[in-house]
Amino acid sequence: MRCGWPISKTNRRIIVSRDMDDCPFRAQDAIPQIAPTHRFQWEEAQQCYVILYPEGMVKLNGSAAEILKLCNGEMSVAELIRDLKAQFPDADVAADVVRFLQVANENGWICAKRSS
C-alpha cells in the first residue's frame, strides 16, 4: 500500500493558515501546551530542539526552544513570561513570547489547555 508519498517526493502545497485574531494566547491566563499530535524533543545528532508531527519536523532556534520548554500545560502565558524574564533580564521577553506563541499556534504546534 505504498501510496502516500512522503513530503519530499511530492510537490505538496500547504496553504492552511490560522487567523492571527483567533490566537488564544493573547489572553494572559491562557495555558499553552504542545499539541497532542506533535512532539517536542532534543535531537542529539542535530544539537537542537525539534518539533515532530505526522511526517514532518521543524528545527527550533534557542529562544523558540526556551519558550516551548515552558509550554507544559501547567503555566499560563503570564507565568511563562515571568519565568523567562528572570532567565533573560535583558531581552524584550513579553513581546517575543506573544509573537512566538502566535506563530506556534498558527502552525498547530501548541494548543490551549482547556480550563477544567
Partner: protein, 382 residues
C-alpha cells in the same frame, strides 16, 4: 533557524521502512516495483531493530512503517515499541486491512505516534474495485477506531482519473471521520502507476476543478483539518525537488534490506544498491558509491549544470529522468527547459487517447508481477 551547521554532512532524517511487499490490496497505482514478486527474503525482526538503532544514531527522526501492507508483519508492535523508545516519531502508513480495534489499541500501547489510512475512492464501488477486495466498510470502521484511541489521523486519497471528480465526497467523508489531515495526492507515476499511466492520468480540467474544491475546503476547515492537494508533476513546468535531493534526507530500506535514496530508485540500471545485511547504515549513507552518485551538483548535465534553479529543484527526479529518457543523469523531462520535455507532452497525449480506447488496468498482484520477474516485460519504456 538554529542548528544550522550548513556544511555538515546530510543526515538520513526520514527513514522509510518498507517492511514487506505482501499486500491484500491490488491498487494499480502502487509505487512498489513491478517485479516485487522476486523479492521474497524479508529481513528478520533482529535486522530491522538493528536498522532502527543505527539510523536513529545517525539522526533519523521520522520513521515511516510501510510496505506492501505493514500490518502483514507480525512483529510490527515490537518494531514500533523499539522505535518509540529510541525517540522516533513513528508513522504507520496503512490500508487498514489486517487491523482490528484490538490491534489499534496495541499500537497505542507500543507508542505509535500517527496512523495514515488510505482510501482508494469516496464510494464503496470504486474503492473496492481499485483495491481489488472488499475494504471500504472496514476502512471506515478502522478510521473510527484510530480516532477513538487518540491517534492523529491522516486520510490519504490517491487521485486518478476515475476518482478525481469525487474530491468533494472525499473531503466530506474525511470530515465525518474526523481526520486531522487529508492528503489528496494525485498519482505519481512510478512502479505500477507508471504501467497504468494512460488510464490513471487525470485531465487538466479535472485537476483545476479539484484544486478549486480543495482550496474552498481549506478555507472552510481552517484550524480544524489540514488539507494537502498534490498536483501531478506532469502538468507542471518545473520539476519537484524530489526527495529534497539525492541522499539528502531520505533513506528507504526495502523488505529484503536493500537501501535506497528513494523508494522508486531500485529500477535504476547500473546501480547496485547496498544491503543492510552486509553494511552499516553509516557506511551506506556516507560512503557507498550509489548514495553519492547523484549527491550535490557535479553529476549534472546541461541544462541543469548551469541552471540557477538547480539549488532549488536538484534537477528533479532521477527515476523519472531514467524511466522517460533512459538516462538517470538527464534533467527531469517535466522541466520545460529539458530538451526531452516533449516526452511529457506525448504522455499526456497518449493518456487522452487511452481515455477513449479504455485500455485495461494492470492490477498490482504477484501474478501480474511475474512477467516482470521473468523479464518478459520491460520495466521502463524509453
Amino acid at each position: 533557524m538554529a542548528g544550522s551547521a550548513q556544511n555538515a554532512r546530510p543526515k538520513p532524517l526520514w527513514l522509510l521502512a518498507e517492511l514487506t511487499y505482501k499486500c491484500p490490496l491490488q491498487c494499480p497505482y502502487c509505487s512498489n516495483p513491478a517485479d516485487f514478486a522476486k523479492y521474497k527474503d524479508e529481513l528478520s525482526t533482529e535486522d530491522w531493530l538493528r536498522v532502527l538503532r543505527q539510523a536513529r544514531a545517525m539522526g533519523a527522526t521520522q520513521l515511516g512503517l510501510s510496505g506492501g501492507e505493514p500490518l502483514a508483519r507480525r512483529d510490527l508492535e515490537t518494531l514500533i515499541a523499539e522505535a518509540r523508545r529510541l525517540g522516533f516519531y513513528t508513522n504507520l502508513i496503512t490500508s487498514g486491512v489486517g487491523m482490528d480495534e484490538a490491534r489499534v489499541r496495541a499500537f497505542r500501547e507500543a507508542g505509535l505516534d500517527h496512523i495514515q489510512l488510505s482510501f482508494q475512492a469516496a464510494t464503496l464501488e470504486l474503492n473496492d474495485y481499485i483495491a481489488g477486495t472488499n475494504a471500504f466498510q472496514h476502512k471506515k470502521e478502522m478510521a473510527h477506531a484510530v480516532k477513538k484511541h487518540g491517534f492523529p489521523m491522516v486520510l490519504c486519497f490517491v487521485l486518478y482519473r476515475e476518482n478525481e471528480d469525487q474530491i468533494e465526497h472525499m473531503l466530506e467523508l474525511a470530515i465525518r471521520l474526523e481526520a486531522d489531515y487529508v492528503e489528496l495526492a494525485t498519482t505519481q507515476y512510478y512502479g505500477w502507476a507508471f504501467l497504468n499511466r494512460d488510464r490513471l492520468m487525470p485531465t487538466r480540467a479535472q485537476i483545476e476543478q479539484g484544486e478549486r474544491i480543495a482550496h474552498a475546503y481549506q478555507e472552510k476547515m481552517k484550524g480544524k483539518m489540514k488539507i494537502y492537494y498534490v498536483v501531478p508533476d506532469y502538468y507542471e513546468q518545473r520539476p519537484k525537488a524530489c526527495m529534497n535531493g539525492w541522499g539528502s534526507i531520505f533513506l528507504t530500506i526495502t523488505p529484503d534490506g536493500t537501501a535506497l535514496p528513494c523508494h522508486a530508485a531500485r529500477q535504476l540500471s547500473g546501480l547496485l544498491f547496498p544491503n543492510v545485511r552486509d553494511h552499516s547504515i553509516e557506511w551506506i549513507w556516507n560512503d557507498s558509491p550509489d548514495f553519492n552518485r547523484f549527491r550535490g551538483f557535479e553529476w549534472m548535465k546541461a541544462p541543469c549544470r548551469s541552471c540557477p534553479e538547480r539549488f532549488k529543484d536538484f534537477g528533479g527526479c532521477r527515476c523519472q529522468a531514467y524511466m522517460l529518457t533512459g538516462d538517470a543523469a538527464n534533467a527531469d523531462p517535466v522541466c520545460s527547459l529539458s530538451p526531452q520535455h516533449g516526452l511529457i507532452e506525448k504522455a499526456l497525449e497518449s493518456a487522452r487517447e487511452a481515455n477513449r480506447s479504455e485500455k485495461p488496468l494492470i492490477f498490482r498482484n504477484p501474478k501480474n508481477s511475474k512477467p516482470f520477474v521473468e523479464k518478459k516485460r520491460p520495466l521502463a519504456r524509453t
